[in-house]
Amino acid sequence: MGIFRRIWALGKRSKLDREIEDELRDHLQMRTNANIAKGMSPEQAARAARLRFGNPEAFKERVEAEDAALSIEGLLRDVRYAVRGFTSSPGFTTVAIITLALGIGANTAVFQLLDAVRLRSLPIQKPQELVELLITGGNLGLGVNDHPYDSFTIPMWQEVRRHHDPLSGVFAWRQDEVTVGQPRDGKRVHALEVSGEFFNVLGVLPWQGRLIEPQDEAGCDLSKVVASYPFWEAQMGGQPITPNTTILVQGHTVQVLGVTPPSFFGLVVGDRFDLAYPSCIPPNPRREFFILSVMGRLKPGWDLARASGYFTSISPGLFESTAPTGYNAEAVKTFKSFKLGAYAAAAGVSMLRDTYDSSLQLLLAITGLVLLIACANLANLMLARANARQRELAIRMALGASRRRMLRQLLIESGLLALSGATLGVALAQPLSRLLVAALETSQSSIHLAIVTDWRVLLFAAVVATLTCVVFGTIPAMRGANADPIAALKSGERGIVGNRQHFFAQRLMVITQIAVSMVLLVGALLFVRSYRNLMTLDPGMREIGITIGHIGFDTLNIKPENEAEFKRQLVEDVRSVPGIQNAATTTNTPLGGGTWGHTARVGATEGDSRFTYASPSYFATMGIPLLTGRGFTDADTNHAPLVLVVNQAFIRKFIGTAQPLGQLVHVMPEPRYPERTYQIIGTIPDTKYQDLREDPPPIAFVPAAQLPVDAQGPWVAMMIASNAGPDAIQALRRTLEKKYPTMTLQFFDFQQGVRDQLVGDRMMAMLSGFFGILAAMLVVVGLYGVLSYLITRRRNEIGIRIALGAKRRQVIALVMRDTAAMLLTGIVVGTALALLAGRAATAMLFGLKPYDLATLAFAIVLLAVIGILASLLPAIEASNLDPVAALRAE
C-alpha cells in the first residue's frame, strides 16, 4: 500500500526520492535496451532514451509533486504553511490560543479534581479486588456512630474475621487523631488504627523497616507505630529506622517499626495519615459502638454479587450473636435483621467525594458551557479571517489546489490552534486544580489530594480539544473551501454584500452565546443568592463571640459519680475569668455536624428526637430565649425530678396543640442510658441543630447534671461567650493551665466552624459568579465583533443609504434591530435552557427555587443591557460613516 510505504518513508525524504529515481532508471535502461535491439549503438541508444525524459530534475519534481499532494510530507508542508500564517497575524493567534488555553485549562482542572476524588484507584496492588463490607441500607441510626466511614462494631468484625469465604484476606481500620510530642503542646496528627492484616491484605510493602503484622495486635497499650512517608520525612528528618527508633505518642514512648511508601496515603481519598498503630480488641468490647471499617480482597473466581450473597447468607447468625443489650426489644429486632453486603472499594472511601461530587460535576458543566461560548467567539474570529483570506484561497484554488486540499489546510489550522490551546491548558490545569482544592480547605481540615495529570486527564483534554476544534473550525473551513474563486477574485478584498447564509452562521453563533450565557448568569445568580441566604441565616442562636472549648481531664482521675459536680465547678471557673460573659457545658455542639438522639414517647406518639444535655447557663450563653416555663438550675440533678426543655419542632411532633408544660416524656432505654420519664418544664423556639441547611429537628434539652452516671466521661465540651476576642480565651487558657496543669484544652471559634461548612457553597458561588461574568464579557466581545464585522461588510449599502438621505437615527436603528432580534432569540432560548438546567442544581440551593422569577428577570435585564451597550458602539460608528469614502473604496 502506497500510504504505508509513505508513512514508513516519513522523515526520510531521500528514500522516497530514491524510489522515484529507481523507477526512472529502470525505465531508462529498458528503453536503452530496446533502442539497441533496434540497431543503435549503445551510446546512441542511451542518449535517445535520456532525450525523451528532458531535464531529469524537472521530471523528478513533477512526479514528486503528485506524490506530495496527499502524503504525510504534504501534511507537514501544510502545517508549516499554517504556522507561517499564524506568525504573520500574531494578534489573532495570541487571542485564539489564550482563549482556548483558559477554556480547556478550566475544564481540565475540574475534571482533574473529579478524577482525583472519584475515578482514580488506590495506589495498592490490584485495587479492583478490594471490597468494603457494609450493612446494606446503613444501621438506621442505631447504636453510636463515631465517624461516617465506620460501619462495624468490634464483635461484628470478630465474626467476619472468622467467616469470610469469598475473601482471601480481611482487615479492619478506623481513623483517629493522636498527639505526637508532649501531651500539652504536642501536635495533633492523623492516625489509622489498623488490624494486623491491614498492610498484608492491601499489599503495601515497607519503604523502611517493617509494617504492622498480626502479632503486633497483642497488647492494648500503644507501643508500636508505623509512620507514613510524609510524616517520616517532615517530622522524623527521614532518618533510617532502627530497632531503637522511638517517638512520643499520646504521652507514651513508642517504637517506630517502619515507614510506608510515598504513594500510600491510607484509604481515605482527600486525607492522609501520619501514623498507623495496631488495633486492640478489649476483653468486653461495646456492642453498640460502630467504630470500624472492614475491607477485604476478593478471592479469584468470586465477584461482588456472589460475595454479597455469601455475606447476606451469614448475616442472620452474625447479627444474632453480636446484638447489643440494653435496648428495647424493637431496636434489637431491627439490629438482628441487618444484612451485610460487599461493595467495590477500589477507589477507597471519601467524604470529599460524597460532599462535592455533584458540585464538581456541575462545575464541569459550567466550564464546558464557558468553553462553548469561547468557541463560538473563536468561530466568528475564524470566519472573519476566512473571509479576509478569501482572495488567497481563491488564488490557490485557481492554481489547481483541490477543494479537499483547501478544507484540509483550514482544518489543520484550527487543529493546530486547538492543540496549542490544549497543551497550554493542561499545563494551566495543575495550578487551577490546586486553587480549587485550596478553596475547599478550612481552618480545621486540610485536603491532601494527589493532583496528577494521568492518562484520563490527557484523554479528556484531547477530547475537549477535538470537540473545540470541530465547533470553531468546521464552519469557517467549509465556508473557505467552498468559496467561488471567480466571485472572490472579482469582489476583491473587501467584497460586496455577502450572501444571506453567510451572515446566518455568524448570527447563530451570537444567539448561542447569548443563550448559553443566560444559563450561566442564572446559575451564578442562584448560587450567589443561595450562599448569601446561608451566610445571613439566623440559626436561632448566638454565633458571634462564641468559642467552643474541648476540655479533657482524664489525668485528674475523678470518680464518675463526682464528674457532674466537677464540670459544674469548671463552668464557674471559666465564668470567673475576666472578659468571659458566660459559659455552659453541652453534650452536643450545635451546627458541628454531630447528632445525638433517643427514641421518646409522649402519650401515644413515639418517635426519635435529638437530646442534648446542657448546663443551666446554656440558653443564656447561646442567646436562646425561653418562651414558656423555666430553664434549668443547679438543683436539677439526678437526685431531683427529671426535667426537659423542648423546642417547637418537638411540640409539633409529639404534643400537637396541647399545653406542653407538664407533659411526661418517656425515653426508651439504650446501653448506658436507662429508661426514664422526664417532665417538660420549659419551651424554646426552634434552632438549627446539625447544620444550617437542615430544618430544625425536634430537640429536647436535659440538665447536664441529669446525664446518667454511666454516660459521664472525663471530658466536656463548653460553649463560651465573650466579646473580648482572642485575648479573653488566652487568659482563660492560662487560668485553667495554672489550676489544672495536666488538663488538655482545645478552643475553636464557633462562627468560623459554621462558616467552614459553607466552603462548598462559597466555592460554587465564587466560581459560578466568576464564570457568569466571564460569559457576559465574552458575549460583549462576540456581539461587538460580529456587528462591527457585519457593518464593514455592509459599508457600501450603508454608504448608499446615507447618500440617499438616511438619518443617523435610522442607521443606528438598522443596526440595533439586528441586535434586538439576536438578543430576543437568545434570551428566549436561554430562559428555557436555564429552567431546565436549574433542576440539576435544586439540591445545592438553599432558600431558593431553581425557577426563581426575580433571578430570571435580573439575568434577562442584565443581558439586554450588556447586548445593547455592546452594539451601540458599532452602530454609532456606522452612522458616522462618510458616504463618499465608503463608496469610493469600492
Partner: protein
C-alpha cells in the same frame, strides 16, 4: 453533454492499457500504446509518470515492485476496482467527445 475533457485522454489510454495488460511497468505501458496504435500515439515519459503516481494516490491503480520477464526489477502497476469504474466512465465519456468532434468536423 459530455465533459470536453481532451486532457483526460491520457488517463483513458493508461487505464485501458492496464486493463488489457493486467499488471505492467511504465515502459511496458508506453510500448503497448505505441504498438496497439501502430505508432500513431506516442506517450511521453514526462506525462506518463506524474499521471501514474496521481492515479496511485487516487486509488485507481496499485503499485508494487516486481521482476520483469528479462529478470529486471521494475515497478508494476495494476488496476483496482475503483480504477475499473473510472475506466468505464471515461470510455463512455470519450465516445461522446469523439461523436461531438466528428459532428463539428463534418459540419464544416
Amino acid at each position: 453533454m459530455a465533459k470536453n475533457d481532451l486532457q483526460g485522454a491520457l488517463d483513458l489510454l493508461i487505464l485501458k492499457s492496464l486493463s488489457h495488460l493486467g499488471s505492467m511497468h511504465g515502459f511496458g505501458i508506453i510500448l503497448h500504446i505505441e504498438r496497439v496504435s501502430d505508432e500513431l500515439l506516442n506517450v511521453e515519459e514526462g506525462s506518463l509518470y506524474p499521471a501514474l503516481h496521481r492515479m496511485e494516490h487516487s486509488g485507481w491503480v496499485r503499485a508494487e515492485w516486481a521482476v520483469t520477464e528479462s529478470s529486471r526489477r521494475a515497478k508494476f502497476y495494476t488496476l483496482t476496482a475503483t480504477g475499473r469504474k473510472q475506466l468505464a466512465a471515461r470510455e463512455k465519456n470519450w465516445e461522446q467527445v469523439v461523436k461531438g468532434v466528428q459532428a463539428i468536423l463534418r459540419f464544416a
